[in-house]
């Protein structure tokens, strides 16, 4: 062979620089959204084959739909009663696994009123495809 490899080294350096950029950006944003506000209201989410139930901080329970207020912060405490599920509100990019025996948390603050879909994103059996619920954000 006997040729010089300088082009390849530059190329690898550029690739690494791009990756550092991607990693730093991702780290930064994750850091930003990870931090749960102090005043976030806690909502217990329980997944079960094949429906969702919710419990508000004041003890009111809802099945298959949940009513939230616009511009409030909410922290979901997600767990499951049988198999793994995944709590997902695609519109607000909320996504967290519901694992039996564990409580996972994710927080968000709806900044838009209306009706949105909640779906299960982790394969959980026969009616996984229809494990849906409604998120209703009310303007106050």
């Amino acid at each position: 062979m006997g040729h010089s490899n300088w082009a390849e080294w530059i190329y690898v350096a550029v690739v690494i620089a791009l990756l550092v950029y991607v990693g730093a950006e991702a780290w930064n944003i994750e850091n930003l959204i990870e931090h749960t506000p102090q005043d976030a209201e806690i909502i217990k989410v329980t997944a079960q084959q094949w429906f969702w139930s919710f419990e508000h901080e004041d003890g009111t329970k809802e099945v298959g739909e949940i009513h939230l207020k616009k511009d409030h912060a909410y922290k979901f405490e997600i767990t499951s009663k049988d198999v793994n599920h995944n709590f997902n509100i695609p519109e607000f990019v909320v996504l967290m696994d519901a694992v039996p025996g564990r409580i996972n948390t994710v927080w968000f603050s709806p900044n838009q009123a209306g009706e949105f879909d909640i779906q299960c994103r982790e394969y959980c059996g026969l009616i996984h495809y229809n494990m849906r619920a409604k998120l209703i954000v009310e303007d106050v």
Binding site: Q48, Q49, W50, F51, S53, V63, G64, E65, D82, L126, I127, N130, R132, A133
Partner: protein, 187 residues
């Protein structure tokens, strides 16, 4: 080393044909076995699954002297359009929703079950007030892991041995909580 003066036929029509016959034959035989037994392969729940669902083997209903009276009941699984409310025969608020059955000890309740919905259902009678376990033997039609497909149906019987309140439910997990539950009052 790689010089050769005459063509050596490595493959021929006959040999390819033979190979295809072997492969095709294997696949066809396999497919016949699979489709003949297709439902057998998914017919049971694992022991851990049975424990989780609260299914035990011994729960035979006590033998009772039958009164000779038959109570035929027809139950259809139905669903609301958004699938969030489930019920027997009619949606909540409509007449005939989850009919309550009154019977005496020793009566024979004959269930005639039809899945009139779009998802999966299975039928059973339990004395548990919550959950989908404790199904009394002989009362079940299909099971949560091998449920009734849309349009399928079946029959089963329940001869109560003791007075009390029983529940007929959909044994698919969650469906009872979503409304597929009715009461059987035995005196």
């Amino acid at each position: 080393m790689s010089e050769h003066d005459e063509t050596i036929w490595r493959t021929s029509s006959g040999r390819v044909g033979k190979m295809m016959a072997i492969l095709g034959g294997t696949v066809i035989v396999g497919a016949i076995i699979f489709f003949a037994l297709g439902d057998y392969w998914i017919s049971e729940l694992s022991p851990a699954g049975k424990t989780f669902a609260g299914i035990t083997d011994e729960e035979d209903a006590p033998t009772v002297t039958q009164t000779g009276e038959d109570i035929p009941i027809t139950l259809d699984f139905i669903e609301s359009k958004d699938f969030r409310t489930l019920a027997f025969n009619a949606l909540p608020g409509e007449p005939g929703n989850n009919p309550t059955i009154n019977a005496n000890v020793g009566d024979r309740i004959i269930f005639n079950i039809l899945n009139a919905g779009k998802s999966f259902h299975a039928f059973g009678v339990t004395s548990n007030e919550e959950g989908f376990g404790g199904i009394l033997s002989g009362t079940d039609v299909a099971a949560a892991n091998n449920p009734l497909k849309p349009g399928d149906g079946g029959t089963s019987e329940f001869i109560p041995g003791e007075p009390g309140t029983y529940y007929y439910i959909c044994t698919v997990p969650g469906h009872r909580e979503m409304g597929m539950v009715g009461t059987i009052i035995v005196e």
